[in-house]
Amino acid sequence: MTHWMKHWKFISLLAIVLLCSCRKSLTVEQENSTVEEGYYQSAPRIQQSVIGGYVDLRRALLANYAWMMYGEARAGDLKVAVAFQQQVASQQLTATDQNLVQLSDWGYFYDVIKDANDVLDIVEQAEEGVLSTYQYNVYRGEALALKSMAYFYLARIWGPVPSAERNNFGAQLTSEEVVAQSIVWATEAQRLLPWLLLNDDGIESTALTAVRFNKTAVTSLLAQEHLWLGNGQSAYDVLTNTFTSSTADSLSGFGLAIGEDRRTEIPEAPLSAGILSMPLATFNAIYPEGDARRAGMFNISGNSATLIVQDASKVDLLPVREINLLFAEAAWRSQRFDEAKEWLIKAANGATEDYSALTEETFGDALLLERQRIMVGTGQRMFDLIRFGEVPSYISAFTEADVTKGAAYWPLSASSIKDNGWSQNAYWAIP
């Protein structure tokens, strides 16, 4: 014991040394990379997370010209100048082409959903004073709109899909359940989003508004979703309550921005000249001679008509020109036939047909045709055919029975259905 007593000074010094090797040293700060924790603590950084959602949506819809492949390219209206489009147009969607495998993978859309859910958390958890009320509303609104749009695409492309929401993660939802959910989010987003977005200087910016969700775009989305479920009245209510004569100056569509990236170019230029075209015969059948829109929308050269790219900096998804069509459809579906005709005539400015003579029986076909003409290039065609129940009439590869089995939807890639108890629908499961 005396040994110990003799060295008490030393022993206490040693004890201090041992205890001083502070446990904080086990936390190594990142010097050249970013950790999620503690990152989103300012408005510009929170905006980055919102932008991340758009970036992922852009990848989901532009990689392999997906927005076209899910739409006009599959319906056979437009040709995309890539080899695998032949297989898409001939409905050979399970071919072993790597591009088709990617197109049949739903992963990118779920990336958007995850981004949106992260943004909702980030916005909610932002400290007092970091976000202004305007920013809070816009970021939350954009996240809800992105999520609503991603789910709406999933339901239209694949029909039933799993939920990626915290409360029912992995639950198998029917197409109707998915869209019903999407309507809830879009409805809230519609309330939150402004007509025009402010740029960093606090000035209303039309350029910014055109590539981000805004009140016009989210209202169009909401109307589309209501119409998908057959709720004409709800769509009509949304449209009439939102768009009034006083808002006409504030309208803005929504498209995906294709900007110069600081690191790399987009590997595919979705809107390079000549990429989207149709054979002259098809073109003439859709837009007969005399249709005033022919020259404005297409360049005719030789045997084909090439879609004119109005603005190569963005891919339009929810253009303003759809609003009249949506009014027409909502009015028609909610038993307001005369009003529907008025909206259609307004929308179809430049058509050779006289739509004033339409009957309730012929209205549907006329509306579908006008949607085909006006919405060309936005990727809506296939969804229109499904919504109008006209897939077998326009796609010869499918019979009514095929469509009942799920032919109009896309098959699922192996990675989409791995380890989640999901399986291919009855049509695409054919060996």
Binding site: T34, Y39, I51, Y110, G259, P267, S415
Partner: protein, 1018 residues
């Protein structure tokens, strides 16, 4: 012994006489033979003497002085000088087995008291006669259960050292190796760099000069290693460097030069034979209208009858030089040791080689009457490895002229350029031990290690007139501070206790910077410019900290009953806060049963111990920040889509683009290891037998596992795989003496290890190893099977007749070959495992195990008078390897003619016509679906081998035989390295394969070396 006691009694009884006198004395061994070169000193004084050839010495001493006597191989003695009389001192030879002190974790232990599985190798003798780049390759075949595999013969290459079986998994290539922890003089060192910071390809451990190593201790089981906690699961290798010994300064010089001979290279048909073979292939298979290139048909072509020996041109005999010098000494003040080394090993392949410059200085000071001991060590080294850029090939067609042919002189046909890999290491450590009281000491040590690695690459292409420059630098540093308190009381009737308490704190940092450029024309400069468009510069930084508290307790009763326990807790910054700390306990016990009364009369039993241990140790992984959830601004995804992160003029940054998401639950890989062993020494040390049996279960190896795509992530890292290694180890040492002049010592060790995978993620799904770019490695990890097994198509020979191709009875269609080929006579007959009448990926099966089942070594030392002969052999039994070297050469592309040399087809059994009892299918270069495919089980061969690694013949001169020798001792020797290999394998060298069993000999064959050297002690 009796004589010594008598002498001591005489000294004690005598009365002090003259104050100081010159005394003469003689030192002899127990047989009465003089001990030459023994040191005699006086404690506390600076005088000393050395015995001459007759064993005599002269020294001025005073009564009351304490004389010290020491000599290598003998136990040191101290005698108080009482009476002025001539002394006759007998020194007893060291009983190595019983008195050996072995360095174990944070302390030293008498060998007899060790309860773990520990093997100690004295490096002195080994390094004196062998020149090696790193000590790793010298350990080959020396320690049971340690598999040292040299994957390449290239100077500076890194050998794989695996202790007690592989326990590492990855989805990619076989670079995941369960690497041991290396500790030099008590300080864990940087032994490798993670792939992101590995700038050079040189063996990081090659900068430690093997000649500076005193001994190497391998801690194999958990009880020995667990004190090193989180890094000990793969075993620990403790290296002790040479220190000065008491006596007069020892100056050593070791000068050697070796000649490296080119071993057997690839078989090349050459000249006319190659032309005939090409002709034959054209005759047999060329499609209509395709004729041979003019090179083969134009007799006026000056090279028509050429037969260039490309291998002979590029591989040449080379020279290795290795020089070591040291001065060491010790006294009451402490010790000093300074050593220098220079090695220049030229490679046998053009433009390759390895150089090492090393300097090490170590000093110890005793102060406060030996209460305070301060050690300082500074080690500085540089290694310089030269390599060729990838373009250099020794496989050109033998019809092409060699560059020294007068007709083409000046035209460089191979890609000029070079790669220089430079590693500089500075290691400084300082420690102070304070002996606080009897049996109680405190030690604090601080060490700083700095390792700079640099690579400069310059290569140019004469054809495209483009030159590539790459310059990369990496800096690694390690700062360690550790404190230990040791208390070793002895009490009662033979109770002996040793308690160690310690703490350590470590920070490791790594940084790289690299720039490269491709310039449009060869600038012939090695500076990296910044051209427009295609320059890439990058940098990276990573850091981790480790904090540990540890304790070890050893207790024994009369050295008969031994008990040991250790516990360590490690906290690492690499882990999530939830699982930051890991606790690694171990317990062990031993029984020196030979001390029991019943063995009292068993003269044949010199030593006998049974020991057992169980413990837990850990490993971590390279990625410093895996648990944190790193945000990454976009990368290629599984479809190679690149997401760009700017949108509408604003940059996006979301947690989606992680390396996997933040996972607070990531934790230590833990290894449970149980070991039982027996140590026996028989017949007074003539025979020593060591046996160990172990079970090592490694749990929670890190693997990425797939997530449902609906989660928004592709994969996440989890502690997901378990691997079990079970094995037996045997060591037999014999020390025989025949007459007084001839001795024969042997060491035979062999180990059996059985490896199997116990658990895998995703419901034990098979892992077929593929690279990130989708390249299939042909290996599989499957539950119940050994790691990295071959996943191949099962060959059933060759179709000799059309009707041998199976027909589907349902459809009437014939079996389709790979890539939908219609099978023909001469094609490979693969078994259709799933019976779908189509050979495809689903027909691949587990077809071989690349993990060695048995491996070991056999060392023989013969000495006859001054001659000695040392033979080292190593062997591996029960291992499958793939003859990739042959496979790659039989795989002929459509443009095979002129593109490379051909092997001599006559030597291989290749199918040409019906009835050929061939091993390899028809070599049709124009076939749409080639039949020579990578994963054909026919190329799997038995990889067992027995290799005589080295043979050293030496002769030692000393003053006894040569009175006029100007040195104390001189030894001349000749060593033959990589002497001969006995193998079944049809390729060049069964040893040069990757850990997952693919032949690497195409890379760099292992030279044979004949080394001549002289070692001088002044």
């Amino acid at each position: 012994m009796k004589g010594v006691c008598l002498l001591f009694a005489v000294l004690m009884l005598s009365v002090a006489g003259i104050a100081q006198s010159v005394m003469t004395g003689k030192i002899s061994d127990s047989d009465g033979k003089p001990v030459v070169g023994a040191s005699v000193g006086i404690k506390g004084k600076n005088t000393g003497a050395t015995t001459n050839a007759a064993g005599s010495f002269r020294l001025r001493v005073s009564v009351g002085d304490t004389l010290t006597f020491s000599s290598v191989g003998f136990e040191s003695r101290e005698i108080v000088f009482r009476k002025a009389a001539d002394l006759s001192i007998k020194l007893t030879q060291e009983n190595k087995i019983l008195s050996d002190v072995v360095v174990t974790g944070y302390k030293s232990q008498v060998k007899q008291e060790i309860t773990g599985s520990v093997t100690s190798i004295k490096m002195d003798k080994i390094t004196e006669g062998q020149a090696a780049e790193s000590f790793g390759s010298l350990l080959q075949g020396r320690v049971a259960g340690v598999n040292v595999q040299l994957n390449s013969g290239e100077p500076g290459a890194t050998p794989a050292i695996i202790i007690r079986g592989l326990a590492a998994v990855s989805r990619g290539d076989a670079s995941a190796i369960s690497e041991p922890l290396y500790v030099i003089d008590g300080i864990p060192i940087i032994s490798r760099m993670s792939s992101e910071f590995a700038v050079t390809s040189t063996n990081v451990l090659a900068d430690l000069n093997p000649s500076d190593i005193e001994d190497v201790v391998v801690l194999k089981d958990a009880s020995a290693a667990a004190i090193y906690g989180s890094r000990a699961a793969n075993g620990v290798i403790l290296i002790t460097t040479k220190k000065g010994k008491r006596g007069k300064p020892q100056i050593n010089l070791n000068i050697r030069t070796g000649v490296n001979f080119v071993p057997q290279l690839r078989d090349v048909a050459g000249g006319t034979k190659e032309r005939e073979q090409v002709q034959r292939l054209y005759d047999l298979y060329a499609p209509y209208g395709l004729s041979m290139p003019a090179m083969y048909t134009d007799v006026t072509n000056p090279f028509y009858n050429n037969s260039s020996d490309w291998q002979g041109y590029l591989y040449n005999t080379s020279v290795t030089q290795d020089y070591n010098a040291s001065i060491r000494g010790a006294g009451d003040f402490g010790q000093y040791s300074i050593s220098m080394g220079y090695m220049d090993s030229k490679g046998i392949l053009f433009n390759t080689g390895f150089k090492r410059y090393s300097l090490m200085a170590s000093t110890s000071f005793n102060a406060l009457k030996n209460k305070l001991i301060i050690n300082n060590t500074l080690a500085v080294s540089r290694t310089d490895q030269g390599r060729n850029p990838d373009g250099l090939s020794s496989g050109y067609s033998s019809l092409l002229p060699l560059p020294d042919n007068p007709l083409v002189k000046g035209a460089e046909v191979y890609q000029p350029g070079n790669i220089s890999n430079l590693n500089d290491r500075v290691r400084f450590s300082s420690d102070a031990t304070l002996n606080l009281a009897r049996n109680l000491s405190y030690k604090a040590s601080l060490s700083l290690e700095y390792l700079r690695v640099m690579q400069d690459t310059y290569s140019e292409s004469r054809r495209t007139l483009r030159a590539t420059n790459l310059s990369a630098t990496g800096e690694n540093q390690n700062l360690l501070f550790q404190n230990t308190v040791t208390y070793t009381p002895k009490f009662g009737n033979g109770h002996s206790l040793s308690v160690l308490l310690g703490q350590s704190m470590e920070k490791t940092e790594a940084k790289t910077t690299s720039v490269n450029s491709v310039s449009a024309s060869p600038t012939l400069s090695q500076s990296v410019n910044w051209p427009q468009g295609n320059s890439i510069g990058s940098s990276n930084y990573g850091a981790s900290t480790l904090m540990s508290y540890f304790s070890r307790l050893d207790y024994n009763f009369q050295q008969k009953y031994l008990l040991g326990a250790s516990i360590r807790t490690d906290g690492s910054s690499k882990f999530g806060k939830a699982n930051r700390w890991g606790v690694f306990p171990s317990i062990s016990a031993g029984w020196n049963f030979y001390k029991e009364d019943i063995f009292a009369n068993a003269g044949w039993l010199t030593n006998g111990k049974i020991r057992g241990s169980y413990g837990l140790s850990g490993t971590t992984w390279d990625n410093n920040y895996l648990a944190l959830g790193i945000m990454d601004g976009g990368s290629l995804d599984q479809y190679n889509s690149l997401i760009e992160i700017a949108y509408g003029g604003i940059s996006g940054f979301t947690p989606t683009w992680y390396d996997g998401f933040k996972n607070d639950n990531l934790t230590w890989v833990k290894t449970n290891m149980a070991n039982i062993g027996v140590d026996l020494t028989l017949f007074k040390g003539k025979v020593e037998v060591i046996f160990d049996a172990y079970e090592k279960l490694t749990k929670g190896l890190l693997l990425s596992t797939a997530l449902p795509t609906t989660s928004g992530y592709n994969e996440v890292y989890r502690n997901a795989a378990d691997v079990l290694n079970r094995g037996l180890e045997f060591t037999v040492n014999t020390n025989m003496r025949f007459g007084s002049d001839f001795t024969w010592n042997t060491n035979l060790n062999f180990a059996y290890n059985k490896n199997s995978v116990i658990r895998l993620p995703d419901g034990n799904a098979d892992i077929i190893k593929t690279s990130t770019s989708g390249q299939d490695f042909g290996s599989i990890i499957r539950v119940g099977a050994p790691l990295n097994g071959f996943f191949f198509y099962e060959s059933q020979g060759i179709y000799q007749a059309e009707d041998q191709v199976p027909v589907d009875p349902k459809t009437g269609k014939k079996l389709l070959g790979l890539q939908g080929k219609t099978l023909q006579v001469g094609d490979r007959n693969f078994r259709d495992q799933d019976g779908d009448y189509r050979i495809d990926v689903s027909d691949r099966v587990y077809s071989g195990d690349p993990n060695p089942k048995w491996n070991g070594g056999w060392t023989n030392d013969f000495t006859y008078k001054q001659f000695s002969l040392n033979l080292v052999a190593t062997f591996v039994i029960g291992r499958d390897i793939v003859n990739t070297a042959l496979l790659d050469r039989l795989k002929l592309g459509k443009a095979f003619a002129g593109s490379g040399s051909l092997p001599n087809f006559d030597k291989y059994s290749i199918w040409e016509k019906s009835g050929d009892n061939a091993r390899y299918p028809a070599l049709n270069p124009w076939s749409d679906a080639t039949q020579v495919i990578n994963y054909d089980s026919e190329y799997i061969e038995d990889g067992s081998y027995f290799k005589i690694r080295s043979a050293t013949l030496s002769y030692t001169f000393n003053k006894k035989i040569m009175q006029r020798l100007p040195f104390e001792r001189m030894r001349i020797y000749c060593t033959a390295d990589n002497l001969v290999t006995f193998q079944k394998y049809s390729g060049p060298d069964a040893e040069l394969v990757t850990i997952d069993g693919f032949d690497m000999s195409g890379g760099y064959p292992m030279r044979r070396m004949l080394l001549f050297g002289v070692s001088i002690s002044l």
